[in-house]
Symmetry: C2
Subunit: 382 residues, 2 copies
């Protein structure tokens, strides 16, 4: 029987039809006025979504490439940074730093919790040598969010630079780069921006540029200086090497869709979807995994006793067509994650809850059929 | 009046309709059996085009990222390498090496010429400390080709590793990775592979892996070891971070097209198109820029006296719809380049020659109308 394919992971997310159609158009050359006009518009549009008036660069890379750029452009070997991690992607900051010989004060909370701004303040006070603080806006692996605004106020009072991995979250949940004093913000294509993976975007404040001037780590592909020179300083919307032309064209269309809906409305839609997912899961008697501030882009749920998490995930995907996300690393089989991110609406969440109910029921889990869906409906109808 | 848009640069190149259509399909998640199956097939297909049985890795990056990977994974700071350059892209090897503190014996021939295998042999004999030799299969900026086979025989006799930038050329002109003893071969998406830019492919021989084990340069995003572990060693067709899903799906379709035509036929088609372009330009009384071994993917032509190269290029593009390439760096305005690469056929070359004739005529350049086109026809009809 037909079940449509629905992609409800925290990235890649579904791509709107008009954005997909952009990729089906003939490729244009990047050294043309036509492409430069689009790239100029894309950079301007991204700055509105980042809520920044600082420099913004686009790299042809996965989001991880944008993260690497925030290490190699800010640090020198032997420098000390503070990484405040609440999961797998927070830990990636430390992994990259280690690969480059950067010393890390690794502050990791129990997975499911959010990092504590007070603890970050304490560690910054204890070590005046910390050059930068690396955090995660929305930790995809656990569904926890960080209080970027509060952390921004703390870091701004110190000489350290604040770097935010906003890959999963930007364009979907509140993130105000300049107002929150986030010096470097990294975003990716395949999350709130609703395009296929392959672009990393990075905003850079004046404070970050000052630190970048001192950086001695080697770099070429991810060099901010080279990219800034081509893309901004020479005012050419040029790129130091071949950009991902098709993804840039798709980004232009995606930005049009986001601005047509209105960023505030996009944020409100995600807040509603997340609230509905949380209420639905709890109404079914399931436990949310996140005990900190839950992110509005992904809801992580503990697999209940007596249910096989692997089978649950596979049945929902292969029989009922909805791809959720399982647990990563040590959470494999223990949680599942509902992505309600990007090109997703109320009815997608309702559908996911209904499919989860059905798959849970098939494994003999006891609950009143429909109690999850109606809890979600209540949130949407309120 | 309507003039269809024709992209005849040495990259990005036109993308076949069925390959474009792949990008318009819904995005799938990368941690699924469906995607892993495609990635496994793509890696196997790429190995057939590379003509290698060695490891082959795919990175979400421009071709330049693949080049950077061949520096950071093979070298340590202070190591010495030999760069044999015949143009802008050959020089990029030295620029990247310099950024990473790698010492370069920079051997550069006059632009338009090919590098000399004998000179490479002489320099390798003179300095036993050279760890690797970096060359360019087809130098896009000048239209010159390197004799990779001859250089391979020379380098194979030494402890040095041979690294080939085959970004512009692989999949279009002969390149036999294993038979020619090329230890590391870097390719890109938007050239012979006929997909939009954003993928870098790298093949790695056992000799190169041995050198890579000694490399101390820092790396994370472009780490061969990490990518090899995910993609090959664990036999999962996994990736260390989010891959460019849509481009991989497009590559699967492009490989299908190349193999359907037959790689030998693809090579013969490019040889014919290049011969026709060269004959046509010379029949018009124009001088070819390349004085070495001309590449079969791009023909570079000197702008004749009395003709404004900038205007010529713009008229052909903006009035007649055909995007050629101008000169890069010091060659700007002095040459133009006809890309006959990837999704291009005999009639595209005929059209380009006819448009060049028309634009030259409009600038008062003297020649017998049709003499270029008929010279091209003779090549195709022979």
């Amino acid at each position: 029987m037909l079940y449509k394919k629905r992609l409800m992971t925290p990235g890649p997310t579904e791509v709107p039809p008009t954005v997909l159609a952009e990729a089906a158009k003939p490729v244009i050359h990047h050294r043309t006025p036509q492409f430069r006009k689009v790239l100029t518009e894309v950079i301007a549009g991204l700055k509105r979504i980042f809520k920044t008036e600082q420099d913004l660069l686009v790299f042809p890379a996965a989001g991880t490439g944008g993260m690497e750029s925030a290490i190699v452009n800010l640090c020198s070997a032997g420098d000390k940074i503070l990484v405040a991690s609440c999961g797998n992607f927070g830990n990636r900051w430390s992994t990259i730093a280690k690969a480059y010989g950067v010393e890390t004060d690794h502050y990791e909370v129990e997975w499911g919790m959010s990092v504590s701004p007070a603890e970050i303040e304490k560690r910054l006070q204890a070590d005046a040598g910390i050059k930068a603080v690396y955090i995660t806006l929305s930790e995809t692996s656990t569904g926890a969010e960080s209080d970027v605004k509060a952390i921004g106020q703390i870091v701004a009072k110190t000489p350290a630079v604040l770097v935010v991995d906003a890959i999963s979250g930007l364009g979907a949940i509140p993130m105000e780069t300049d107002a929150w004093q986030a010096d470097v913000v990294v975003a990716g294509a395949q999350k709130g921006f609703m395009i296929p993976p392959g672009l990393a975007m990075v905003s850079i404040s004046k404070k970050a540029w000052t630190l970048a001037k001192e950086s001695k780590l080697p770099k070429f592909y991810f060099s901010w200086e080279k990219a800034q020179k081509s893309m901004i300083a020479e005012a050419l919307a040029n790129t130091p090497y071949t950009p991902s032309v098709s993804l840039i064209m798709q980004m232009a269309e995606s930005l049009r869709l986001i601005e047509q809906e209105g960023l505030d409305v996009v944020w409100a839609r995600h807040a509603k979807m997340a609230a509905a997912a949380r209420e639905a899961m709890q109404a079914l008697g399931l436990k949310l995994f996140c005990t900190g501030q839950p992110s509005n882009v992904v809801t992580s749920v503990r697999v209940p006793e007596g249910v096989d998490g692997g089978i649950l995930f596979k049945v929902i995907r292969d029989t009922y067509g909805i791809t959720l996300a399982g647990g990563q690393g040590k959470l494999k089989g223990k949680i599942f994650r509902i992505g309600h991110l990007g090109y997703a609406d109320d009815w997608d969440v309702i559908a996911a809850v209904a499919a989860i109910e059905r798959a849970l029921g098939e494994q003999g889990f006891k609950f009143q059929l429909g109690v999850g869906v109606s809890a979600a409906q209540k949130v949407f109808f309120s």
